[in-house]
């Protein structure tokens, strides 16, 4: 599938995005890793939708922004991006931290989010369920925890780290830390607000998630009105990377249900 890379200025912040495919616009929000690249799952989704995959501020090729302090800032950034792109109403699919942003966006601007897919979404905390702390571990170890099949981590690791890939990874970790250092990967207010989501919602989770255990999937489903759950077998946290065709198929089915 053909795709193209472009830059958009969002309130002065140079924002990189990749677009591909035709159909209803689908905003795809990336997880902690893999920003700025078009992966097979993007390609599969682009067979049925117009995929718009921006890099979060300070990730991939989007510039780092001093205004980025917490999750609200990034939510308003994406509202502004939708304005810039003249996308009045979109389908939204986000993974991990991208899922957190997607949920917040659906709450802040229900008028802009037609359907919502949360995959391994961060953003809430359940007492007594341990989450893997990616700030406490070297990246190789974190990646091992993100996949069920360790052979898959290659997709996200640079073959041979250079000074620039190290600096880039450090910049992205810094941008993530702005959002997620403390509280760690959640917004204490989100849990209660999830009930305000109006968009039909699909929650997708890897059954073998060792980063945010599957209890989180059930928590999202319990709190979001009418949400449905799709568990993926033999799969870790990063479902779109580990089971990309199954992921794309489930997500497309759900999104087209409304689109048709």
């Amino acid at each position: 599938m053909a795709y193209r890379s472009e830059f958009v200025s969002v309130g002065g912040t140079r924002t990189h995005l990749i677009r591909g495919g035709r159909g209803k616009p689908l905003l795809v929000l990336h997880p902690e890793f893999g920003a700025g690249r078009w992966f097979p799952y993007h390609d599969s989704l682009a067979a049925r939708f117009h995929v718009v995959a921006p890099d979060h501020p300070g990730f991939g090729r989007s510039s780092r922004s001093e205004w980025l302090r917490d999750i609200d800032d990034i939510v308003f950034h994406y509202v502004e991006l939708l304005d810039e792109l003249k996308l009045e109403r979109v389908l939204v699919a986000g993974t991990s931290v991208g899922g957190w942003i997607a949920a917040e966006l659906a709450i802040a601007r229900p008028d802009r989010v037609e359907r919502l897919v949360l995959t391994g979404a961060a953003g809430i905390k359940i007492d007594g369920v341990e989450r893997f702390d990616l700030f406490l571990h070297p990246i190789e170890e974190t990646l091992l925890h993100l996949f069920h099949d360790p052979a898959r981590i290659g997709a996200l690791l640079p073959a041979s780290p250079t000074q620039e890939t190290i600096v880039q990874a450090y910049r992205e970790a810094g941008s993530l830390a702005r959002l997620a250092w403390n509280p760690y990967l959640y917004n204490p207010k989100l849990d209660f607000r999830l009930r305000r989501i109006r968009a039909p919602t699909l929650v997708v989770w890897g059954e073998n998630d060792r980063f945010l255990p599957v209890d989180y999937a059930h928590a999202f489903v319990a709190r979001i009105p009418g949400a449905t759950l799709q568990l993926i077998r033999d799969c870790g946290h990063l479902v779109p990377f580990e089971k990309s065709s199954e992921f794309a198929q489930r997500v497309s089915e759900f999104l087209e249900n409304e689109a048709s």
Partner: protein, 380 residues
């Protein structure tokens, strides 16, 4: 003139036998299960006794510092240790090296405590400010991406609290207080000297030089120290003055014994403890996200330097991370460093790692009796 300080980390020496094999670090994740408060009671008192003795032996000052949740240094509140020393000493300056400003939730607490110490001690306090090391942002849950901003902002608030008549209003990005008005005010005028102990990012060095805050390199190699001090001197020149020796300091682990061979034999296991165990810190603990700037990270990668925890005793000695030897050898080495750097502040880390008390006392006495006078005489 040179001022000599006796500096203590107050380490927790009793690491389990399997530490080297089983624990990635003596910071953050090493369980405090191994901390024994009864032994801690004995150690704190030994350590404080040593510092009191250092004053009697003729050191100009005593140095304490702040570290959290680790075996390297069990002094989470340097101000408490300074307070213990204030009442048991009469002459020595007490250098807090330093309060880790961004780790505190309220900078006025630092302003107040240091002012209290200054008043109690009759103006003997030196107030170092640091950011705290990367690990401490994990241990205390402070966002490392805010570190620099919090440091500068806390500094500005503290300096105003010390020098301006209150109440005044301070509204920053991280700290806000509408009626800052500390009691007591510090005794020294305009305020207790502010020092900047650091391993030296460019930004920090320039900031210190612009404010004429003494820069103290801490446990860096001879080559690094030289580079940092040169950077500081250059920044001072840009700011329109020549940095005097009183603004340049150097802190190193030192061990003195009767002769070189004996000094090396006696110091080796404790130096190894300090660097291989106390400073066993993986990169992702040392440099949490945003803790250093991208420019500093590039510089750090570019130098290709090994972390000192990866160096052998011989490499540490050859690199000038430590000074070990007879009184003559140590004096010669310090005089040499002095002529290279032009420092006026020298800080001795004497009780190194798991060094037993007897060795530490012997080394301290030899240093005070035989090294200090030699270096002083040559310095004049």
């Amino acid at each position: 003139m040179i001022e000599f300080f006796y500096f203590h980390l107050m380490p927790w020496p009793d690491l389990p036998d399997e530490f080297d094999r089983r624990h990635p670090s003596s910071w953050v994740t090493l369980s405090n299960r191994i901390y024994d408060p009864d032994r801690g009671h004995a150690l704190y008192n030994e350590y404080l006794d040593e510092m009191e003795l250092a004053e009697q032996l003729g050191f100009d000052g005593l140095g304490v510092n702040e570290h959290h949740q680790n075996a390297y240094g069990t002094m989470p509140s340097p101000n408490l240790m300074a307070a213990a020393l204030v009442r048991r000493t009469t002459r020595a300056k007490i250098a807090i090296l330093g309060n880790a400003l961004p780790l505190r939730d309220h900078p006025l607490r630092v302003a107040e405590e240091v002012a209290m110490l200054d008043v109690m001690s009759g103006g003997r306090i030196i107030s170092g400010f640091v950011r705290g090391i990367g690990c401490e942002y994990l241990s205390l849950g402070i966002n490392p991406t805010d570190s620099r901003e919090r440091f500068y902002e806390a500094h500005d608030l503290i300096l105003r609290a010390w020098t301006e008549e209150g109440p005044f209003c301070f509204e920053g990005a991280h700290y806000r207080v509408r009626y800052a008005n500390i009691w007591p005010r510090p005794l020294q005028k305009p305020h207790p000297p502010v020092w900047l102990p650091s391993q030296g990012s460019t930004e920090t060095i320039q900031w210190a030089a612009q404010r004429r805050y003494p820069f103290v390199s801490v446990f860096t190699s001879a080559a690094q120290t030289k580079r940092l001090v040169d950077e500081y001197k250059a920044a001072a020149e840009v700011a329109g003055y020549v940095a005097p020796p009183a603004q340049i300091g150097c802190a190193l682990p030192i061990y003195v014994a009767e002769n070189d061979r004996r000094a090396r034999t006696e110091a080796r296991p404790h130096i190894e403890w300090l660097f291989h165990r106390g400073l066993k810190i993986p990169a992702h603990f040392l440099l949490p996200p945003g803790y250093i700037t991208e420019a500093s990270l590039r510089k750090f990668i570019g130098t290709g330097l090994k972390h000192p925890s990866e160096l052998t005793f011989e490499e540490l000695e050859a690199g000038g991370y430590i000074v070990v030897g007879s009184p003559r050898t140590v004096s010669d080495r310090l005089s040499e460093i002095r002529s290279n750097l032009g420092f006026g502040i020298f800080i001795v880390a004497g009780r190194i790692g798991d060094m037993p008390r007897e060795k530490a006392l012997k080394s301290m006495e030899l240093f005070a009796r035989e090294v200090i006078p030699r270096v002083r005489n040559r310095a004049t």
